[in-house]
């Protein structure tokens, strides 16, 4: 008996432990803690990137104070503290405690902060030393007592130190340190007057050296992506662990409740058996009552439909202060009225079957009428000899709330409180069902902000978030009750409009949205403007399937974006067609490579000095069997999107090499061939290796192959680009930067890229003859490139005037229709064989400056030309502004005489443009009428030097022009002597 008792006690102990484990595991995860972890981790990752960005801006002097860094760091402090203060009952996969992992992240950020402090200090000193170092050199050089050797050494030091800013190798640093050391040693031998000045030069140089190295090293360490990766993997591990935990908790909770119900039922039966067999009723009843009373769950027993027994937990749950308030009442009153019938049904069923009812969620009514969520299980039971039902209830309000919150988190966007994409989809289904019933049309709108990225980049993510919140509010104000606004993430929003009277109403709302978002946003004092692109699709006109409607709205939104933003577009079947076409193209393109449908065309580049072909660009073409040549603008984006660009890009390089080898075998002296590298190719890890293999296979020398990479691609990830370019350079190929001028280049990087040539984008060349801005930009690019020792190639040259202007400005090479369009290999071969050259009608760049007459009246023009004829200069005539610019592009002009009343462009406008393009030329206006306005305009706007009236006397005009011509020559002479 003793042994049995011991065993029973042991079993009870084990059972208790088991229940304990269950209870622990069933603990719900606090959704607040969960969302805190997620929010903090996300924010910290964002802030980490923000710190990198601000650091780079400070280094490049794009930011002039350290407050943004301080502000981001204080947010980092707040979020790490918040993260570390939380309690987390979660173990990550692999057994790491979450808290430990959090501490790891916090430590990484603290390390980063320490680096940032040092960065600020060094960056400030570097800025100043870069300012004072050249000044101190100048001070030394301006002292006539400075010996020649010292001057030379200091000038060399100046040049080398300033070049450090543009990127340097460790050797550069060593060389400068050596120079400083030598100057130091020489210091003692100098006259005392020079010693102080030299010393200051050396101090500043040393500062530049020390802090440039420090800044470079610190920036590398600060922006090390390893920190980012740690944060990212932690967030992922946490999410996995959380989901698993949530699932487990639910399972355990269910088991626990069943167990309780089972135990109590068993106790009840045991008590009945006991009473029958031994008659020790009192004792056992007492035991049961105790068990009943002490249960942590609410318990009640009802018999013949009325409550007969309750425990104190049950009273507490129902809001009763004494058992009498409950006993005797019909148990069905515990349930809401509309519920009672069903509950009664189930209980009858249970009693008949004499089987327990498993745990279910129920909502019961407390005494004061408020509802309470419980989980309840019921089982048949004998109470005082009567068949009764025993009910176990547990308050699940907290859990319900937690579930709701989790549900909310899963369905709503935490930033704006709007439904997320998933819920939006659900709502769409419901809305469509409703529209179907009502028979009224509905619309789906996709809304995308146009300038959001700029806001994020310039004002920071916190401000970007605020903008999104304000946008959400304004969007919500544009719709009626029953409509839905959702956010899909980023700057994309969606809208469902119901009960439209007519389809056109959707346009009214869209316009309302455009207007609402066009009003300025106040973001902490920054007035910010955004606009929106909206795509609209209609139910049932366009489609009735929600998935199709979503696709339609998306397509229409992209169309709106294409059409220049800030507008809305209805979905059309044509968009559908285009989408289908694209799919079709994708499918046929996948087969194009194996079917050999791709080919290369070649466009020659010409050396402007010699006129000879000095390079070739290979361009990809696709000859589709059904359609013939497909425009590259159509198929190259598809290649990029699908990733096919990688195999096709390799094919291009291989084919170009094959062609080079073929030409070489045919004994042709072919210049190097350039192929374009696309973004995807450029990101390929082993690009250099692949290209090296291709060269090896074909037996072509590396010097014969060039690569062209667009500016925007390089500047997208300049650090990565430096590495990739260096890898390519190692093979020995030439590299050029393509489409230059369209992106944002950092000079520091430009210097670090190992480039050979720079290609000016065709956009600048197009209007170079008539647009002063384009001309100025082109000239600046040419100078910049030459400073960086790069060859300059002008793309898209189509006219002689463009060519002349480029030649005048010392551009090295040209490429464009003016010489040749891209042609098949055979045609290019023919060009090479006949040694075709660029024939320029005449090179006027060294001719003496001429006088240009512009008059729309042919008769006047002839008369004027006659009147001005002179031995001193040549007289050129033009009948229109266009002709005049062509002449001006090709040769130097000293004086321009223009009639004011011309068709097309008026004389004042022409002279104004001329002033910008050729500021040195003397401008003379002439007019048939002496309208004072014309004269005033000409002088104020075009800055004419003289204004003459027609009906002139020939001799006077000649004198005026001669005078002006001499004036110009003297001015130019003075300028050149100054040089």
């Amino acid at each position: 008996l003793k042994a049995t008792r011991l065993a029973a006690a042991g079993a009870a102990l084990v059972a208790a432990a088991f229940v304990g484990v269950l209870a622990w595991n069933a603990k719900t995860i606090d959704p607040a803690a969960h969302s805190r972890v997620i929010a903090n981790l996300g924010k910290l990752q964002e802030l980490d990137s923000e710190l990198d960005e601000v650091t780079l801006k400070l280094r490049d002097a794009l930011l002039s104070n350290y407050d943004p860094l301080v502000a981001s760091l204080s947010l980092v402090h707040a979020h790490t503290r918040d993260l570390q203060e939380g309690e987390y009952a979660i173990v990550l996969v692999g057994g790491t405690e979450l808290a430990a992992a959090m501490a790891g992240i916090a430590q990484k950020l603290a390390d980063k902060e320490a680096l940032l402090e040092r960065f600020k200090t060094s960056n400030a000193l570097l800025k100043n030393s870069f300012h004072y170092f050249p000044l101190s050199v100048e001070r030394l050089l301006s002292d006539p007592r400075a010996p020649a050797a010292l001057r030379e050494a200091v000038q060399r030091l100046l040049r080398d130190v300033l070049m450090l800013r543009l990127g340097a190798t460790p050797t550069d640093y060593e060389l400068i340190a050596l120079q400083i050391e030598q100057l130091h040693q020489g210091e003692a031998r100098q006259a005392p007057a020079m010693r102080g000045k030299t010393k200051l030069v050396l101090l500043h140089a040393q500062n530049v050296l020390q802090h440039q190295a420090a800044v470079d090293r610190l920036v590398d360490a600060i922006t090390d992506p390893a920190v980012k990766r740690t944060g990212h993997s932690l967030a992922e591990a946490y999410n996995t662990a959380f989901e698993r935990r949530l699932l487990e908790a639910n399972v355990y909770r269910f088991i626990l409740l069943l167990l309780t119900a089972g135990l109590l039922t068993y106790a009840g039966f045991a008590f009945l058996r006991l009473r029958r067999s031994t008659g020790a009723m009192r004792e056992s009843e007492e035991r049961y009552r105790k068990l009943f009373e002490l249960s942590p769950d609410g318990m009640l027993i009802f018999s013949e439909g009325r409550i007969v027994l309750v425990n104190s937990m049950c009273m507490k749950m129902l809001g009763a202060s004494a058992p009498e308030q409950l006993i005797g009442r019909p148990y069905l009153e515990l349930f809401q009225a509309d519920y009672r019938e069903r509950v009664g049904e189930r209980v009858r069923h249970m009693e008949e079957a004499n089987a327990a009812l498993p745990a279910e969620e129920r909502r019961i009514v407390m005494l004061d009428g408020t509802g309470l969520d419980v989980e309840a299980a019921a089982s048949p039971f004998m109470h005082q000899g009567k068949p009764s039902v025993q009910v176990v209830m547990r308050d699940i309000t907290d859990r319900k709330k937690a579930d709701e919150r989790l549900n909310y988190l899963a369905q709503y966007d935490s930033l704006t409180g709007l439904p997320n994409r998933g819920l939006f989809r659900d709502r769409l289904e419901h809305s469509l069902a409703q529209a179907k019933r009502s028979g009224r049309p509905a619309a789906v709108l996709y809304i995308d902000l146009d300038r959001f990225k700029t806001v994020n980049d310039t004002l920071g993510h916190a401000t970007g978030d605020k903008l999104l919140q304000q946008v959400a509010v304004r969007l919500a104000e544009c719709v009626r009750r029953g409509d839905t606004v959702g956010r899909f993430g980023g700057d994309e929003f969606g809208m469902i409009l119901l009960d439209l009277a007519k389809p056109g109403d959707a346009a009214v709302v869209a316009q309302k949205i455009n207007d609402a978002l066009a009003r300025p946003f106040d973001l902490d004092g920054h007035l910010t403007f955004v606009s929106s692109s909206i795509g609209i699709t209609l139910y049932p006109a366009d489609a009735s399937d929600p998935a199709v409607l979503n696709m339609n709205a998306d397509a229409a939104m992209y169309r709106a974006k294409e059409l220049g933003r800030n507008n809305y577009q209805f979905f059309t079947q044509e968009m559908n067609e285009r989408a289908k076409q694209r799919m079709h193209m994708e499918a046929s393109m996948r087969r194009a490579l194996e079917r050999g449908e791709f080919l290369l065309h070649y466009q020659p580049k010409v050396d402007l000095a010699s006129g000879a072909i000095c390079g070739i660009e290979a361009l990809l073409r696709w000859a589709q069997p059904e359609k013939g040549l497909v425009s590259p603008a159509e198929f190259i984006p598809v290649l990029e999107d699908t990733g096919l660009i990688i195999p096709v890009g390799e094919w291009v390089a291989r084919e170009a090499c094959r062609q080079i080898a073929a030409w070489q075998q045919a004994g042709l002296q072919a210049p190097p061939v350039a192929v374009n590298l696309s973004a995807r190719q450029f990101q390929q890890k082993n690009l250099a290796g692949v290209m090296r293999d291709i060269l090896k296979e074909s037996g072509v020398g590396a010097a014969q192959l060039q690569f062209e990479i667009t500016e925007s691609l390089l500047m997208n990830d300049p650090e990565g680009a430096v590495r990739t370019l260096l890898g390519l350079k190692e093979i020995g190929v030439m590299l050029s930067i393509d489409d230059f001028g369209t992106g944002y280049s950092s000079l520091a990087y430009l210097k670090r890229f190992p480039l050979d040539a720079l290609k000016i984008d065709r956009a600048f060349i197009k209007d170079i003859v008539t647009d002063a801005d384009d001309a100025a930009i082109t000239l600046a690019i040419i100078n910049l490139a030459h400073n960086l020792k790069l060859k300059v190639v002008a793309e898209g040259v189509e006219t002689e005037a463009q060519l002349n202007l480029l030649a005048l400005h010392a551009c090295d090479e040209m490429q464009g229709y003016y010489f040749s369009r891209p042609v098949p290999a055979a045609e290019l071969e023919a060009m090479l064989r006949e040694g075709r050259r660029l024939a320029r009608s005449h090179d006027w760049s060294n001719a003496p400056p001429a006088v240009l007459l512009l008059d729309h009246n042919e008769h006047d023009l002839v008369l004027l030309a006659k009147a001005l004829r002179s031995d001193e200069f040549e007289v050129l005539t033009a009948g229109s502004a266009e002709d005049a610019f062509v002449l001006l592009a090709s040769r130097p002009v000293a004086v321009v005489v223009a009639d004011q009343g011309m068709s097309g462009m008026n004389g004042t406008e022409f002279l104004g443009k001329l002033r910008k393009l050729f500021p040195d030329a003397v401008r003379i206006g002439i007019s048939g009428a002496s309208d004072p306005n014309t004269v005033a305009n000409a002088i104020n706007e075009a800055g004419v030097h003289k204004f003459l009236l027609k009906g002139w006397d020939g001799a006077r005009l000649r004198n005026e022009v001669r005078e002006a011509y001499r004036q110009y020559r003297t001015a130019v002479m003075r300028d050149s002597s100054k040089l």
Binding site: A61, L62, L63, S64, N65, Y66, D67, L69, V70, L73, S74, H77, E117, K120, T121, A124, L125, K127, N128, F130, H131, Y132, P134, L135, S136, V137, E138, L141, Q155, L158, R159, L162, M163, R165, L166, L200, L203, H204, N207, Y744, S745, S746, L747, A748, L750, I777, A780, L784, N787
Partner: protein, 321 residues
Amino acid sequence: LVWQAGSVLLSAGSPAQLSPPSFNVLSGAEPISPIPRSLPLDARKVALGKRLFLDARLSRDDSLACASCHDLAKAGADGQKTSIGVSGQRADRNAPTVFNAVFNFRQFWDGRAATLEDQVDGPVGNPKEMASSWPAIMAKLVQDREYRAAFERIYGAMEPAHVRNAIAEFERSLITPGSRFDLYLEGDRTALTDGERRGDQLFKSYGCVACHQGVNVGGNLYQRLGVLRAFGDGSASVDPADVGRMAITRKQEDLLVFKVPGLRNVALTAPYFHDGSVEKLEQAVVLMGQYQLGVAIPNEDVARIVQFLHTLTGELKAAGS
């Protein structure tokens, strides 16, 4: 065109074009930003914090309050070289102004406190300053019924952390917007005289602004004192024990590295430097030029810069009143 800005440096290779690039060539943005008119604060905490700030019970012998050395009537400092503590001892460093301290990225000359809250511990426990301890202070404060009620209402309890928070909240209210320079930055072109404007330009072109920038005109980074000339070799004296951040990091490179002080209201907070060794603003400017920039700033430029520094004086009304 980003690269155009850089062309100054590119062409600087030939000595003929050695014109000094001003900082605005590299970055068009104004490095100094105006003080906001107000910060979001809890007015109840500010009022409570003010009482505590003026309460001498925070010191061991009830003789000194925060305000003794950070006198709100003396621009938040005390005009002393270094302050005098409870037993008449001199503190180690010059008391910095409490005005605009909220804009400093860290507190103390050596930046050892990350927040205004943390800063409170410093003077309170420093044996040369208030020489007290939290248990001692709390024992005194808890006897004050008004304090008890206020803490109960605002914080729900009375703890040292709450005392620190209230004082810090009060200090956050001590900002000085509306200086003439801020008005100028906000677009009032007439707020400065020509001389003051010239002073602003000189402040920037000499490179003072490389460190003294941001909303507090400094106070957001550490810098070494004596970059081009060792500190202490001239008129100023240097305490060999005062090694700056090196005392905290234990690194030689942090010797004499201090938080760059903000220059807001600098005309009112003499004497200057961490050791209070300089009486006159003019002298401070001259020494900064020598120590930090390696230039002898001519007297007329010094005068202009000082004129400019005077325009940084804002509205010094004590908040909470």
